[in-house]
Amino acid sequence: MFMPMLFEILVYPGLLFILVVSLMYSGILRKLAARMQNRMGPPIVQPVYDVIKWFSKESIVPDEARAGYNMWPVVGVVAAFVAGLMVPMGGAAVLDGAGGIILLIYFLALSSAAVYMAGFSSSNPFGVMGAIRGITQMIAYEVPFIVSILVPIIALMGLGGVDYLSVSAINGFQVNNVWLIQLYPLAGVVFLLTLVGKIEMPPFHTPGAHQELVGGYSAEYSGAGLGMIEVVHIIKGFVVMGLAVALFLGGAGTLPVFIAKTFGFLVVLTVLRVVMARLRIDHILEFYWLLAIVAGVDLIRVILVPAGL
């Protein structure tokens, strides 16, 4: 009983699996984006080299850095991994149970917030501005994110016998029935768009805009600290793909289906990355609040017609 559990947590679908697949997806994204831009791009294993490099370099801590400078990146990494353990990846999620989705939302938000807190603690105007932008972007997308997540939850509430607050249950429901994005397309599309903002991919890559803010919130970080911040991004990127599949894109009952669907989402993200320019933070705010209203339409629908399944 204990050994399988340990295997699940540490290997599959746990930490090792999450780490390896995240790095692979990050490498594939970079390679694909490069080919779309008519250039060669780095080898797919490049993120592995990057991580090794970051953790082997000297970490220079600024004298003026405030409390939390060392801690927040660690919090971010831990939160990202824990969130990953809560997402079903071709089976049930490792850490699941009643109310799982609430904890998942919390840990995902924590992994983002920790990175921005790191920016705040670096006492560098660029770091602080990047963190401010990051928090602003969170304010922007968290609302439509929550509104759209409520839709599958409430949809399953009317069923009975299903733990509607468990990500694995929603995943399982979709595997056996129908893609929730088909039933609630508005909420589904809004959810996917909020995920793009969550992982700061184009066109929502404003917080880390290095053309303007010299790296934004990670400006003062080097060595292991920088490595951890970058790992948070890489892990979160993969975790949200898994979340999209589990909540709206038909779920995944087996590993191959999971890989296929998340890979499809990766390709879409890559196309966005190559084609879109950076939106300004006020544009992003406007856009996401509009999306909150759009998702609200589906929310009203699902409340009024709970037996719509």
Binding site: Q37, F126, Q211, E212, A277, R278, R280, I281
Partner: protein, 386 residues
């Protein structure tokens, strides 16, 4: 008074291609003041020129800037030709000078298009524009042997001829470049996110453009139909073309002007190669130049490039004064940045196509006497021993 934060943009900053220091005061994301401090690329070129003869100075002038090196050599050559007096530059040389100048404008504007894309976060435009630019760079390399610093113009003409094989290649590349210019203009006018980042941003109104003596595409984007090529230097009088003018004065207008100029340049080059006269490519001039002073100015990719030269009978100039286009345009940063969002600073700065290598001078203004002098190294050595 509301507390503002000062963000140092520079001297090293990913938004800038060359070092300068913009001390930007912000209130939240809004820029409330800009202090422009230059001087990081000052190399004492005007002083260097006083110690070298007229021919050597061609190559000193060339290295003022990598992107507009051709413009500098041609203007310098023209200034010295005006100093000497009755120098009949052969017609073929004038055509070759025009081709080099326009090829330079092409590569400069394509470079700019890429940089503009990069500044607003879409590096695909950067990759794409610089790939197209490579066709032009290949041409320049085949003509002159180098991608920058071509060493083509000299006093009295040009130093190398253009063969007929190269002429065929030129025609082919111009077709490609024209089509791509249409494509980029379409992108800058129609892509929703790019439009959101460039339309209405960094608007320079006509009054400010006049007040700050803006030049080049920055000026023409505010509705001024002013292009020095219309004065007919080199072979511009022999070919048919019109300046590109836009109305709004914002970043988008500047982009449209430059992309339009790419098409115009391609057309000028095509006309030049089709009408290319045969003949000599240079006339000989004497090394010593009698006492005189003269000016020359051309439309470099960034605007009016102005050379003043004074001779004293020897083979070295008494004084060369260079006023580059960015020197004028940089002043327009103040009205265009204040009131805008910090996020738009990179694209607004990039929109004047700044070339700080060309721009840095050290000028001492004596406010009591009201005169201004450009100092050289010995002055600093003197005050250092103070």
């Amino acid at each position: 008074m509301k507390k503002t934060t000062t963000i140092p943009i520079g001297p090293q900053h990913p938004a800038l291609i060359e070092p300068e220091y913009l001390k930007v005061s912000v209130d939240g994301e809004t820029i409330v003041d800009v202090d422009i401090q230059l001087g990081y690329i000052h190399r004492g070129i005007e002083r260097l020129m006083q110690d070298r003869n007229y021919v050597q100075n061609i190559f000193v002038a060339e290295r003022m800037c990598g992107i507009c090196s051709g413009a500098h050599t041609v203007t310098y050559s023209m200034a010295v030709e005006n100093l000497i007096g009755d120098v009949e530059v052969p017609l073929r040389a004038k055509y070759i000078r025009t081709i080099i100048l326009e090829l330079e404008r092409l590569h400069s504007h394509l470079l700019w298009a890429g940089v503009a894309g990069y500044e607003i976060g879409i590096d695909t435009v950067f990759m794409s524009a610089w790939k197209d630019r490579e066709y032009v760079m290949d041409l320049l390399e085949q003509i002159s042997g180098n991608r920058v610093n071509y060493g083509m113009s000299t006093i009295g003409g040009v130093r190398r001829d253009v063969s007929s094989e190269i002429i065929t290649k030129i025609e082919k590349v111009m077709d490609v470049v024209s089509k791509r210019a249409d494509y980029y203009a379409d992108v800058f006018l129609n892509d929703k996110v790019i439009v959101a980042r460039t339309e209405g941003i960094g608007k320079l109104d006509r009054a400010d453009a006049e007040k700050f003596s803006a030049v080049g595409p920055t000026l023409r984007a505010c509705g001024f139909d002013y292009d020095i090529r219309k004065e007919g230097y080199a072979a511009y009088g022999d070919v048919e073309w019109e300046p590109v003018v836009a109305k709004n004065g914002d970043v988008q207008a500047k982009a449209i002007v430059r992309l339009g100029e790419v098409k115009v340049s391609a057309s000028i080059i095509r006309q030049c190669v089709s009408k290319m006269p045969k003949g000599d490519i240079r006339v000989k001039v004497a090394p010593n130049v009698s006492e005189n002073e003269a000016v020359a100015r051309i439309e470099a990719p960034r605007g009016e490039l102005f050379y003043y030269a004074r001779s004293n009978g020897s083979d070295k100039p008494e004084r060369v004064r260079i006023r580059t286009p960015t020197y004028s345009n940089i002043l327009t940063l103040k009205p265009t940045l204040i009131g805008q969002q910090l996020a738009d600073l990179p694209i607004i700065v990039a929109a004047i196509d700044p070339c700080f290598a060309c721009t840095d001078r050290v000028a001492l203004v004596d406010v009591n006497k009201g005169d201004e002098k450009v100092v050289d190294g010995s002055y600093f050595r003197k005050i250092d021993r103070g």
